[in-house]
């Protein structure tokens, strides 16, 4: 076998696979016009989930706009601080997530006409001494990262603590980790209704206007949306949608509650997993996590072996100089940057304008990342094998690749199996950042439940227990494999 040949085949396979995926998606688009909307669905009544579906004022308004103009609507859930970037990079057509118009945002995206006037309000704990905005100086203030609340507090009061969503801000106030939170007024009202521990100051901190963010190049969309918005406002439809969701969100808050630890636990369990089939977020998330991890492990091993063999061959034979240089560059870049950054770069920059299944993107990102660590582990395994093994193989007339594959690698693999197993366990846990690209993996599943139930403890514990179980299972499997391989000696 020839190393260059393997490398070449791998590249071609990769190209054809990804080429086909993106082609398939494009064909679908050509048949029905789709409007791709992004939002962070933890912001009731503007966007939230019910029975797994993303609903709310923004989805309803945009769906109506899409319907009236002959588009099918696709909604994606991603962290608020990524949605503007998603529109800017062309990953999405429109961001509708209770976005306030600001000068900075205007520089990178176009805004539709405002469709709602809103503001930021201050949330505090029930027994807080804070009476007005003037008391906020020097306090621990929580905001949702990237929101206008964040910007306002940072500029006018002091550095805030930034959370992924408003639900987390409220949870942190309830548990005493924050003195106050600055959150959009409408969702703030909802959070206050749902929790006995927090209240809202009557005076809003700011007043501002919500609008949709649209890619700078899509002036056609901008015009279409503005025209339809005027129609809908004239018909009184927007007011109607707002009223409907404000009512919807409040309806199930009054419940008779038992008390006592066990009853509380049963109640929490029911709310977090059984109601609205919320366990499905964990189940589907778990499947995604396993898909991503398994795919990344396979890709990581392939890349790792290839890179390790090229590096070792270059060291031992003095050939493959250019391939070795490329490998070194790859190792330096991957090991020198955080995996979150790599994931975001691959999603937003490398595949920015290509429509590929996000699981595939995650597999590529985590596989590329893991490959670097696998490569160094396997290379250390190769170096741990006595030089005499290579010489014995070569002296018997075996070629370098054959000696590598039949003699060196099996021994190296056995030596580094514990380290490799460890790397895969790390990889499994690292996939928990997939939520950054709006993938609903296990961790994100827990986040979604928390966003709906305002309970931080139960979903987090459930997520932790699931990861732990998988890791324990994997460790056992590895021990068995090691024992099997050791039996030979």
């Amino acid at each position: 076998m020839n190393i260059k040949l393997i490398l070449g085949t791998l590249c071609i396979t990769a190209l054809t696979v990804f080429g086909n995926v993106s082609k398939a998606v494009n064909v679908e688009e050509a048949q029905t016009k789709t409007l791709r909307m992004v939002t962070e669905a933890t912001f009731p009544p503007y966007e939230y989930r019910e029975n797994g579906r993303i609903i709310g004022i923004d989805p309803d308004v945009v769906r109506e706009i899409a319907r009236r103009n002959g588009y099918a609507l696709v909604i994606e859930d991603m962290p608020f601080n990524s949605i503007i970037a998603a529109v800017q990079s062309g990953k999405a057509d429109i961001a509708a997530s209770g976005i306030t118009i600001t000068e900075d945002r205007k520089k990178i995206v176009n805004f539709s006409d405002p469709y709602i006037t809103a503001g930021q309000s201050i949330i505090i704990s029930k027994n807080s001494t804070i009476k007005s905005a003037a008391d906020l100086k020097g306090k621990r203030i929580g905001v949702q990262s990237g929101t206008t609340g964040d910007i306002y507090v940072a500029e006018n009061i002091g550095e805030p603590e930034r959370f992924d969503n408003a639900a987390l801000v409220c949870a942190a106030i309830s548990s005493g980790r924050l003195d106050a939170g600055v959150v959009d007024t409408a969702p703030a009202k909802e959070f206050v209704k749902r929790s006995e521990d927090i209240k809202m100051l009557p005076e809003p901190l700011t007043s501002e206007e919500y609008a949709f963010a649209i890619n700078k190049n899509r002036t056609d969309l901008l015009e279409m949306i503005n025209t339809t918005l005027v129609e809908m406002k004239d018909e009184g439809l927007i007011k109607h949608i707002v009223a409907k969701h404000e009512k919807n969100v409040t309806k199930d808050t009054e419940e008779i509650k038992e008390t006592g630890f066990w009853a509380d636990f049963k109640d929490d369990f029911h709310t977090n997993f059984v109601d609205d089939d919320r366990y499905l977020y964990l189940l589907n998330g778990f499947v995604k996590t396993i898909e991503i991890s398994a795919g990344a492990v396979v890709l990581g091993i392939m890349i790792g072996f290839l890179v390790a063999v090229i590096r070792s061959a270059a060291d031992q034979t003095g050939k493959l100089k250019i391939a070795n240089l490329i490998c070194k560059f790859y190792l330096t870049v991957i090991r020198g940057t955080p995996v979150v950054v790599q994931l975001l770069i691959i999603y937003f920059v490398i595949f920015g304008s290509v429509d590929i299944n996000k699981v595939v993107i995650a597999i590529i990102a985590f596989g590329l990342n893991s490959g670097a660590y696998v490569a160094e582990i396997i290379r250390s395994g190769i170096m741990s094998i006595d030089k005499g093994q290579l010489e014995a193989g070569r002296s018997l007339g075996l070629s370098y690749p054959k000696t590598m594959i039949l003699i060196i690698l099996p021994q190296a693999f056995k030596n580094v199996l514990p380290a490799l197993g460890n790397e895969f366990i790390v990889l499994l846990k690292e996939t928990s950042i997939s939520g950054y690209i709006a993938l609903e993996d296990l961790t994100k599943g827990g986040d979604i439940i928390r966003g709906q139930t305002y309970n931080a403890f139960v979903p987090l514990m459930a997520v932790a227990i699931i990861y732990l179980t998988v890791v324990i299972f994997l460790s056992k499997l590895l021990t068995l494999l090691e024992k099997r391989l050791k039996r030979n000696e």
């Binding site: 006595d386 005499g388 093994q389 010489e391 014995a392 193989g393 070569r394 002296s395 018997l396 007339g397 075996l398 070629s399 370098y400 054959k402 039949l406 003699i407 099996p410 021994q411 056995k414 030979n488 000696e489």
Partner: protein, 248 residues
Amino acid sequence: MENNPVIFEVKNLVKKYAKVHAVNGASAAIKKGEAVFIVGPSGSGKSTFLRCLNKLEHPTSGEILFHGKKVSDNPRAENHFRENVGMVFQHFNLFPHLTIKENITLAPIQTKRLTKAEASAVADELLARIGLADKADAYPLQLSGGQKQRVAIIRALAMKPEVILFDEPTSALDPEMVGEVLSLMNDLAKEGMTMIVVTHEIGFACEVADRIIFMDNGKIIEEGSPVDVTKNSQNPRVRDFFQKILNV
């Protein structure tokens, strides 16, 4: 023997590492069926000389002819050439993840020198010959040093090479195991196998060698029959060396 064809012809071989000239202008010819022993002080370049012969090391200058022809540096030609030149190492270098039988059959099968069935038959025959038939399915770790080295020798033999290079085959063995390895080598020499042996076993060399080559400082400074080299050399370095060894 006199009229046998020359297998290896070495002309003015030089192998230089970063700082040292390991071999510094050595010339020799090895004929078919000869048992040539290379002796000399430690660090004199014996191993390097041997490893250049099967191209595990590439000479800095000089020429090595195999059957009168230079072996091309093309990897495929080198691999094919090595099939004909067996090597036995000081530390055996058996493959620990393979059984004894797999150790023996791996190379003949992979290089297509033998079919699977042929290789298996050859392995069985060779194992029976050294009395280790019952170890066919054992792993190297379960063998004693002497057994390992004898397996390493028949592993080289299974390729049916024209010549076998030995680099201090008994130096890593406990004294009580040296005998079994030397006796197998003696048998091979009697059968007419061409052998080039680096060793410190001077007694054995005198008994078996057709010719002894003495190396010092990367150069061949004496060459001839065992008696001529060990007893009658005019070279003081050589005389000194054997005097010290034989007086111990």
